[in-house]
């Protein structure tokens, strides 16, 4: 059984009288432990696809199977549970809670998972230590550099030991050097057997992955392993 199976996924947006077809029938499978890059020009539907994969959004039609479960049949709260346990999401704009410290940001998924106070503190500190931020626990996002913020986001995404790590242009807001640090982090995770799906439009970022899926106009244009 594949970890992810998409079958003829469509997603369109109603914009007044117009309908925007962001995805027009995407079918693909991704196995456990894969490191996949999704590429494509701006507006081709990459983010829409990622949001669907991350259960943040539901398709207009088509089937999405995650771990053998039909995501389309789940209600809001079941989806929240999936997002909490199965999926770690890293965004281009970090999406950290501005008023909370790094530690609290990383603790949050654990709170929603019902982990007790002491245990979650321990786990969150360990996760931040893993991304090299052991000395930044009490810093708020605006007291950290972009690279540090993105590492907090990665720690938060990983803290519940999800099945998949999704990253939508994770280096898009970072300079080359800090971007490289994040990619190195991803490489380590992939080497440990984690499943990673990373959206990017930079070839050198994509080349870190084992497989590149190219999207164009809401369709999969090509799907090839990296040579």
């Amino acid at each position: 059984m594949s970890l992810i199976r998409l079958d003829a996924i469509c997603r369109h947006y109603e914009m007044g009288s117009e309908t925007v077809h962001a995805l027009r029938g995407v079918s693909l499978t991704i196995e456990r432990g894969e490191y996949v890059a999704i590429m494509g020009p701006s507006g081709s539907g990459k983010s829409t696809l990622m949001n669907l994969l991350g259960c943040l959004d539901s398709p207009s039609s088509g089937i999405y199977e995650l771990n053998g479960h039909h995501v389309g049949e789940m209600d809001d709260d079941e989806l929240a549970e999936i997002r909490n346990r199965e999926i770690g999401f890293v965004f281009q704009t970090f999406n950290l809670l501005a008023r909370s410290s790094a530690l609290r940001n990383v603790e949050l998924p654990l709170i929603y998972a019902g982990v007790g106070l002491e245990e979650r503190r321990e786990i969150a500190i360990a996760a931040l230590t893993d991304v090299g931020l052991a000395d930044r626990l009490t810093h708020k996002p605006n007291e950290m550099s972009g690279g540090q913020r993105q590492r907090v986001a990665v720690a938060r995404a990983l803290v519940n030991k999800p099945s998949i790590l999704l990253a939508d242009e994770p280096t898009g807001n970072l300079d080359t050097r800090t971007g490289a640090e994040i990619l190195e982090l991803f490489q380590n995770l992939a080497d440990k057997g984690n499943t990673l799906i990373v959206v990017t439009h930079e070839e050198n970022v994509a080349r870190h992955a084992k497989r590149i899926i190219r999207v164009r106009d809401g369709l999969v244009a090509s799907d090839e392993p990296v040579t």
């Binding site: 959004d57 929240a80 549970e81 997002r83 909490n84």
Partner: protein, 413 residues
């Protein structure tokens, strides 16, 4: 466990949010504050009034019937004319009642008369309420003696020159000497003090019950009031039989006063219950208008809270998106905003209680009879009202927040 953690987290977030917008939060609570101050003060005032009133009427026994020419409370103006024509209640009528009444523990006539002063040697007492009655007053009037004795039946009937004085009268006239056996002067009469009444306090802090002087009723007729109408005080003894006793008394009086069948009574039987009923009427009016003001200000306040919560939800849409993206359920978000609304209202409730406590302290200073105090039950009531208002007015905004789609919320920055 999970719910508890979510409540803790929700409380924490709310406090941060309220602290971050303290001025705005406080201003929002004004409507709530007014509402809670009203409800608190009203409940406190009602408690105080009730207590004061009960104290005040305690000198009217619950099981004593008072026969008078007219009712204590007359509701229609037409009645006034009829009442004016009623014949006086005379002493022989009182005696007839006393002889025939089977369900009474005591029957006493009473006639009151206020005089300017009672004198002893060169001392004067100031205003005194004279009560002309007989030995039975000891039963019907609910008085007790601190020293000496009361009038006996024969002394009362023989119109002896004797009196029993209230504690205040005794204090004013006698310094370092026993009142008993002394002759005091009232009007043209000279009366020997045979007893002093126990201290009883005052009615609503105004009319002292210790400023009285009890004399044989015949003396009252001869020396102070020409041909007055008597009040007949009938002590029933058992409050359970008060209705039956009332009926017996009524039948008896109609016979004694020769009221033809089919004609209404030409007398009135009053009792404490009537005072209570009248008081309840008044307090219901106060309560109704108070609750109306409370309801109105809570409604307006609630709308204000709802409004500010919509603003709060709108401001934190992105945050809601983040929380949902990492696993917050609808319930989690709903709770978070409900707690915030409730906390704002509780803040208002606390401010209101502070204001109310101040007002109560001032009121107690100027109106000591009211014996008002913020009781724990009123404080609880106020906080509960605040909490409920918060939850109700926060619900719609919180529900909207809880139902947001994560992607849409995240896009909002």
């Amino acid at each position: 466990m999970k719910l508890l953690a979510e409540i803790t987290e929700g409380t924490r977030i709310s406090f941060e949010a309220i602290r971050g917008n303290l001025l705005r939060s406080v201003l929002t609570t004004i409507g709530i504050v007014i509402g809670i101050v009203t409800v608190t003060l009203m409940a406190t005032a009602m408690e105080g009034l009730n207590g004061a009133f009960r104290d005040a009427i305690s000198f009217i026994g619950t099981d004593v019937l008072y026969v008078d020419q007219r009712e204590w409370f007359i509701d229609s103006s037409t009645k006034w004319d009829a009442i004016g024509k009623r014949s006086k209640i005379t002493l022989p009528q009182v005696r007839a009642v006393e002889r025939a009444m089977s369900m009474a523990k005591g029957v006493a006539p009473s006639v009151m008369h206020q005089i300017d002063s009672v004198r002893f040697k060169n001392r004067s007492s100031g205003m005194v309420m004279l009560i002309g009655t007989n030995d039975q007053f000891l039963v019907t009037g609910g008085v007790t003696l601190s020293s000496g004795r009361f009038l006996t039946k024969s002394e009362a009937n023989a119109n002896r020159d004797l009196c029993v004085v209230g504690s205040e009268v005794a204090e004013k006239l006698f310094v370092n000497e026993s009142p008993l056996g002394q002759k005091i002067h009232a009007g043209n009469e000279s009366l020997e003090v045979i007893g002093v009444l126990e201290k009883r306090g005052s009615v609503l802090g105004q009319m002292s019950l210790d400023n009285q002087m009890i004399i044989p009723i015949g003396k009252m007729f001869r020396g102070f009031r020409w041909d007055p109408s008597c009040t007949i005080q009938v002590k029933v003894g058992d409050p359970a039989h008060i209705e039956a006793a009332r009926e017996e008394l009524r039948g008896l009086l109609r016979k004694i006063r020769k009221v033809p069948p089919g004609q209404g009574d030409d007398f009135a039987i009053n009792q404490q219950e009537q005072l209570l009923a009248q008081f309840k009427k008044v307090s219901t009016v106060i309560a109704t208008s108070g609750f109306f003001i409370t309801g109105l200000s809570l409604f307006v306040g609630g709308i204000g809270i709802m409004n500010i919560m919509f603003v709060s939800v709108a401001e934190r849409t992105h945050e809601i998106g983040i929380r949902k993206a990492i696993g917050a359920k609808r319930r989690t978000i709903l709770l978070q905003f409900l707690i915030e609304a409730a906390s704002i209202c509780l803040l208002g409730g606390t401010i209101a209680l502070g204001i109310a406590a101040g007002v109560v302290a001032v009121a107690r200073h100027f109106l000591p009879v009211m014996k008002v105090a913020l009781s724990p039950s009123v404080v609880l009531l106020a906080l509960a009202v605040a909490l409920v208002t918060g939850v109700i007015s926060g619900f719609l905004p919180a529900w909207r927040a809880a139902r947001m789609s994560p992607v849409d919320a995240l896009r909002n920055e």
